[in-house]
């Protein structure tokens, strides 16, 4: 479990980073918090010849809120999100999800960009990005482009990111303060990757009927996805116990989990149903 040999550079601009990346012809990797990459290298599952450290790229830092919504630089650490009163105000669902990520020490180093690029199917942030319709701004040797979260995640540890591209930031659309939401996940121990997780939010019309319902799940498929069947079943209804139970059944049918060492597909389906019901209760303002 000792790291393989590699070279190491610390570029100071994003352009320099992507240039190095493109010159390496697939042999280099960028490193952010190192919390996913280093273990992979120690187990020799990855053997990059060059590590390009992003820590000096000022343009990848910072949290910004404006009319359009919330922007998180790729090098934003989990801790910074948790410490920011502004994010709590403008995106409570995101903060709640981040609270469930890993452990104290890991949250001090792990980054937003690293999580998105790593694309673990059980990670929280990709699910929040997909559920909220976030977009991911990336830079490559040919310039910048913006990718919708929905189109960014292609499968377990697979994304639409090109070989020479790095993530600059992720943008979340504005979050109306009246919006209702719920977040639930199930893991064996606090801080473990989730066996299943659910994030929901919706707005309501004057008569309390749901509109703009968004329901995302993680840990139960190839990558985080929205459940469109559940969403359309919710729009136009009110969030009652019986509606929640009804859509929970729909959700269990709509997800496509698989078996692994930690849980069977059958159990994961059941969890999705329970977690959705509980997230719906939280959105109603009740205890889960």
């Amino acid at each position: 479990m000792k790291l393989p040999k590699f070279d190491y550079v610390e570029p100071t601009t994003a352009l320099e980073a992507v240039t190095l990346l493109s010159q390496s012809r697939g042999l280099a990797k960028v490193i952010a918090g190192g919390q996913s990459l280093i273990p992979t290298m120690a187990l020799r599952l990855a053997q990059p010849a060059l590590l390009i450290d992003l820590r000096h790229l000022e343009s990848l830092r910072g949290i910004a809120v404006d009319e359009a919504g919330l922007r998180l630089g790729a090098m934003t650490r989990w801790r910074e999100i948790q410490d920011s009163a502004e994010v709590l105000d403008t995106h409570p669902l995101l903060v709640e999800a981040v609270r469930h990520i890993a452990h104290y020490q890991i949250r001090n180093r792990g980054t937003v960009g690293g999580s998105l690029a790593h694309a673990d199917p059980a990670a929280e942030l990709p699910c929040i990005a997909v559920t909220c319709g976030a977009s991911i701004r990336v830079l490559g040797i040919l310039g910048e482009r913006e990718i919708l979260a929905d189109e960014f995640f292609l499968g377990p540890l697979a994304t639409a990111l090109g070989d020479d591209e790095i993530i600059l930031e992720v943008r979340f659309p504005r979050w109306p303060s009246s919006r209702q939401w719920g977040f639930q996940e199930f893991s064996r121990r606090q801080g473990d990757f989730a066996l299943a997780g659910v994030a929901i939010f919706y707005d309501t019309d004057n008569s309390g009927r749901l509109e703009n319902a968004h329901v995302g799940v993680f840990g139960v498929g190839q990558c985080a996805t929205r459940l469109s069947g559940v969403e359309s079943a919710l729009n136009g209804r009110t969030n009652t116990i019986s509606v929640a139970a009804e859509v929970a059944r729909l959700a269990a049918a709509e997800v496509t989990p698989s078996d692994d060492l930690h849980a069977s597909a059958r159990y994961r389906r059941a969890l999705v149903a329970v977690l959705l019901e509980r997230a719906m209760a939280l959105a109603r303002g009740e205890r889960a």
Binding site: M1, K2, L3, P4, K5, L43, F186, R188, R189, Q190, G191, D192, F193, L261, H262, A263, S264, Y267, A270, L271, V274, R287
Partner: protein, 765 residues
């Protein structure tokens, strides 16, 4: 005479901690020696197969590489044979053919078995070169469970031809023919798991060719046994080998036993004439350190209608892994010998069969065989109590061994014949006190109730904790020139607070402040002989030998003082701080210090101690996810005499949390090919500091052991023993309306959810 306030029994803060917490500890990986090289081990990726040749040519030419050794290279130095790891405890000739070779020779028998050793300038270079060692393995059918092992279609050894390593039988009375109003037979299973210390194993071997001496840093648990084993394997005189004990980040039974690397690394050092270090990585630790606990039982209980247990009978299948290692037979012996626990059961017939499988060999893990036995027995008791309509607490009360029955004989075990006696105890009083302090009366109203969507359940169980194994311990005591007293003991420190405990004992006996006592332990350089730690023995055996050593030192001081004062030694009286008086005359240690007074003693003890106690749990089960919250857990243990309530409680809480890991989380999971799937700490889930915050523990000194001058009983393992039985009984009690009787560990959320699902199915049919 003014005496010092007694220190034994007080919560003295651990003397070790200041050094540990200020970063001054010295673990084996902290030791760096000029010219030191690093070893990496090439391990078998195949569970069962014929090893057809190992090619080390490419690896030898890799950068930084100093040597690569395969079985062939080793055999060449030892007249054509590869040394084997002798069984430490309870040798019997029949097991010798299945002892593990220090390196795989013609066959590999588990994934992770050493095939070659690579030594290089750095650990990374050694690993890089290890990747370049090639070998051919012709796969054989892997045996991955005891049933397949019993079927015998794929024998692990040519001789013996059977995979059944040994069968132990524990007998008392006539259980086979025993009849009663009620019988129930059940199968129970405990999964493979083990104690994985935070600090992985490791050693640094230093061969000095001029002196022809081998020094090994990193010894733990039983350094004197390791010395004998290594000296014999390397064909060196015993006094040419020394084992140095440095700080150890946990043992739990597993660390300090003799493993293949404990031969391979010194061997490499001697061959290369350079110091060689090897530090196990986490994957190797999970793959190759002693596993434990994997057992399946089929047991029948025979009772009278009032719940008096008449007999326990049946069998236990132990999945022993690929070889019988140093302590490999212990769990299988203890599960049979101590199945009856603290209960008076007149008739017992239990067979325990050790099956060989293509998995890592097993060894001892805190409470070996006892955690399993308690799970089997306490579950069976609750099933029986429920069938008979008897309150489970009452069921235990009527069956506990009574104080007037002490000493109480357990069943007799064969190979070699062994029987044991519960030494002393008031088992009912401890059960009552446990329930009182747990708050049983206040909580029992919650039994089975659904509150906030969760079913509440409570259970209590009783246990024994055998200690003070291993016949002897040794010590040397010296009065230093500065009035300090140094005691060298054979006991080893594995994180249990040994120095603190022995200091307290010595301080009281010498009437000295703790600052004037120095305890040095473990290393073979201190003493001619010693035993170590394990079998909950350090306090009893180490503590008793310290007492003997103090007595002997005082005798010598008295003689010396009598000479100086011109009186008879009987007239000399000891005051505090090593001041001696004879009538009006007075003498201090200052006048004796330069005489170099010292003594070497040994303590011999033919009896085990039996600490005992009770544990109670309150759980809340989420029926929709199968998740169990531990609301409260309390464990109470009578240690005969509590030397330090802080360290005693620390041991019990830590052990209980390990038990909870065994109940809910930990699983060394092998697939049908014999590959270990839980090979990282992300997949092998251990409880962390925050997972079970509600564990409480207390140690009391109610009934001293009659077998040692301290009256103490060994107590390092008691915390883990009852956990499986108590927790699962509480869960079953919570779900009593669903008639759920979990019989297998680990009880993961999914496992429990599945039971609830099928119970739902049953009730809706």
């Amino acid at each position: 005479m003014k005496t010092r306030p007694q220190i034994v029994g007080t919560p003295l803060e651990r003397i070790e901690d200041h050094r540990l917490l200020t970063g001054k500890a010295r673990f084996v990986d902290d030791i760096h020696i000029e010219g030191m090289l690093h070893a990496a081990i090439v391990r078998s990726p195949v569970a069962h197969g014929l090893l057809k040749g190992v090619d080390t040519q490419v690896a030898r030419r890799m950068p930084g590489v100093h040597g690569v050794f395969s079985a062939e290279d080793i055999a060449r130095d030892f007249g054509g044979v590869v040394p084997r790891i002798a069984i430490r405890a309870i040798r019997i000739p029949e097991l010798e053919p299945i002892e593990q070779w220090a390196i795989a020779t013609k066959k590999v028998r588990y994934v992770g078995e050493p095939i070659a050793v690579v030594v290089a300038d750095s650990p990374a270079e050694a690993e890089d070169a290890a990747d370049q060692v090639t070998f051919e393995i012709e796969s054989l059918e892997p045996v991955t469970g005891w049933r397949q092992s019993a079927a015998g279609t794929s024998p692990l050894f040519d001789l013996p031809v059977t995979n059944r390593a040994i069968t132990y039988t524990a007998i008392k009375g006539n259980a086979r023919d025993c009849q009663g109003a009620y019988t129930r037979k059940e199968r129970f299973r405990v999964q493979r798991h083990s104690g994985f210390p935070m600090e992985t194993r490791g050693l640094l071997a230093v061969w000095e060719s001029n002196a022809q001496r081998m020094t090994v840093y990193g010894a733990a648990k039983v350094p004197f046994f390791a010395r004998r084993t290594l000296a014999a394997a390397m064909r060196l005189p015993l006094d040419a080998v020394d084992m140095i004990e440095v700080d150890v980040g946990g043992s739990f039974g597993m660390r300090g036993e003799f493993y293949p690397e404990d031969f391979l690394v010194p061997f490499a050092s001697k061959r290369l004439n350079r110091p060689v270090k090897w530090i196990e990585d986490r994957r190797e630790s999970l793959l190759g350190s002693n596993h434990s606990r994997e057992m399946e039982s089929e047991l029948e209980i025979v009772c009278e209608a009032n719940g008096r247990v008449l007999a326990l009978r049946g069998s236990v299948a132990v999945d022993a892994g690929a070889y019988v290692r140093a302590a490999g037979v212990i769990p299988g012996r203890f599960v049979a010998l101590m199945l009856s626990g603290p209960y008076d059961i007149p008739n017992i017939h239990v067979e325990s069969v050790l099956y060989l499988t293509n998995k890592a060999p097993v060894g001892t893990y805190r409470g070996p065989g006892l955690f399993e036995a308690d799970f089997f027995r306490e579950r069976l008791f609750d099933c029986a109590a429920r069938d008979l309509g008897i309150d489970p607490v009452q069921f235990r009360r009527v069956n506990l061994v009574e104080e007037s029955q002490m000493p109480y004989r357990l069943a007799t075990l064969d190979f070699p014949e062994e029987t044991d006696e519960l030494d002393s105890g008031n088992y009912r009083a401890t059960l009552d006190q446990c329930m009182r302090e747990f708050g049983w009366q206040e909580k029992i109203g919650l039994q089975g109730r659904l509150i906030d969507g969760k079913y509440n359940g409570l259970a209590v169980g009783c246990f024994i904790d055998g200690g003070a194994g291993g016949l002897k311990e040794h010590a040397r005591i010296e009065l230093e020139n500065d009035g300090q007293v140094t005691v060298y003991v054979g006991s080893a420190s594995v994180g249990q607070g040994l120095v603190t405990i022995l200091t307290q004992i010595a301080a009281d006996a010498l009437q000295l402040p703790v600052e004037r006592i120095r305890i040095l332990h473990g290393s073979t350089t201190y003493l001619k002989e010693g035993v170590g730690s394990g079998y909950s023995r350090s306090t009893v055996m180490g503590g008793s030998v310290v007492l003997l050593a103090v007595e002997e030192l005082k005798r010598r001081m008295r003689d010396a003082a009598a000479k100086k004062l011109g009186c008879s030694p009987d007239e000399i009286k000891f005051e505090r701080d090593l001041v001696m008086t004879a009538g009006e005359k007075k003498l201090g240690w200052e006048q004796l210090g330069s005489l170099g007074l010292a003594a070497e003693v040994e303590f011999v003890n033919h009896h085990h101690t039996f600490a005992y106690g009770a544990a109670a749990a309150h759980v809340a089960v989420d029926p929709r996810t199968g998740k169990v919250d531990l609301i409260d857990y309390f464990t109470l243990e009578d240690l005969g005499r509590v030397i330090n309530p802080l360290t005693a409680r620390g041991q019990a809480v830590g052990a209980a949390v390990q038990g909870l890991g065994g109940v809910f989380l930990e699983n060394l999971y092998y697939d049908a090919d014999g590959q270990l799937l839980s090979g990282t700490l992300a997949d092998y889930m251990m409880p962390t500091a925050t997972d079970f915050p509600s564990v409480r523990a207390e140690a009391i000194g109610l009934c001293p052991s009659p077998h040692n001058p301290l009256g103490a009983k060994g107590g390092g393992e008691g915390g883990v023993i009852p956990v499986g039985g108590v927790i699962v009984n509480a869960i079953a009690a919570a779900l009593v309306t669903m008639k759920i009787d979990p019989k297998e560990l680990p009880l993961t959320p999914e496992a429990l959810w599945s039971l609830i699902q099928s119970a739902d199915g049953r009730s809706s049919v």
